[in-house]
Symmetry: C2
DNA sequence: AGCGTTAGTTCCAGATTCCCGAACTATCGG
DNA sequence: CCGATAGTTCGGGAATCTGGAACTAACGCT
């Protein structure tokens, strides 16, 4: 159980972010973490929309989001607390994340998965 | 040889765009088509950065860009002319493409592949 | 301390997707 | 009709994705 690798902000690559968010389930998870500011992992997110996601897949999704630099995960007792790295990424790649989140929000499927538009908040 | 399918703009899905552009080679190709307004396909784009791309891979890249809704391809004699669908996509998903292109442009690898920042044009 | 429970990770095999050389098709110029 | 050029399709090995099952770690309780 290795200790949760996070890339430095300067090592974050756009293709990793796009790949991570090109899966609607991961985009929905990220939107939820972003919105909540901090969401504990698997148990709280066992479903996206109406689709149930197995624990192992969920664990893998978090890993991909983490290694793309989108979230920061820290162990808090039994569970893992996940924060979005929104501000860091917005500083490095301005407009990237808002564009992506709003694009999903402009879509029926995205809405069904709980991705809502930002309009600066 | 079926006749080049393009999705209607309302059928374009964000995940398809993100997936298409999550490959740096495809992002570079798209940036080039976008910048030139219109670029004939394979022969003119046989290399991205310093990496040579085989014809079959290139053909596949164009297909993915096309089916994601990012470009429109039409046969012109022997060759295929590709146009970016930038305006349509910008109207449907405002800020999405600028965010992505600028993110790549903010990166050494992206620059090496010829992706330059926009700053509205 | 020992046990049960809960939270997540790791392992692995089947399914899917990606990559690219080789063969094929289509169009133009002579 | 022939050759050359532009691009697509085919096929199979490589890489990646998915999810069930087994495993590990941190409590809470007695």
């Amino acid at each position: 159980m290795r200790p949760l690798i996070h890339p430095a902000i300067d090592d974050v690559r756009p293709e990793a972010i796009l790949h991570a968010l090109s899966d609607p389930a991961r985009a929905a998870i990220f939107a939820r973490i972003m919105r909540a500011g901090c969401v504990e992992a698997c148990s709280a997110l066992a479903a996206v929309g109406d689709r149930v996601i197995p624990k192992s897949s969920l664990s893998n999704h978090f890993k991909i989001l983490r290694e793309a630099g989108l979230i920061r995960s820290e162990r808090a007792g039994v569970e893992v607390r996940n924060h979005s790295r929104w501000d860091e990424i917005e500083a490095r790649f301005p407009g990237l994340l808002p564009g992506i989140i709003n694009a999903y929000a402009a879509t029926p499927a995205g809405n069904a998965d709980g991705i809502a538009a930002l309009d600066d908040d």
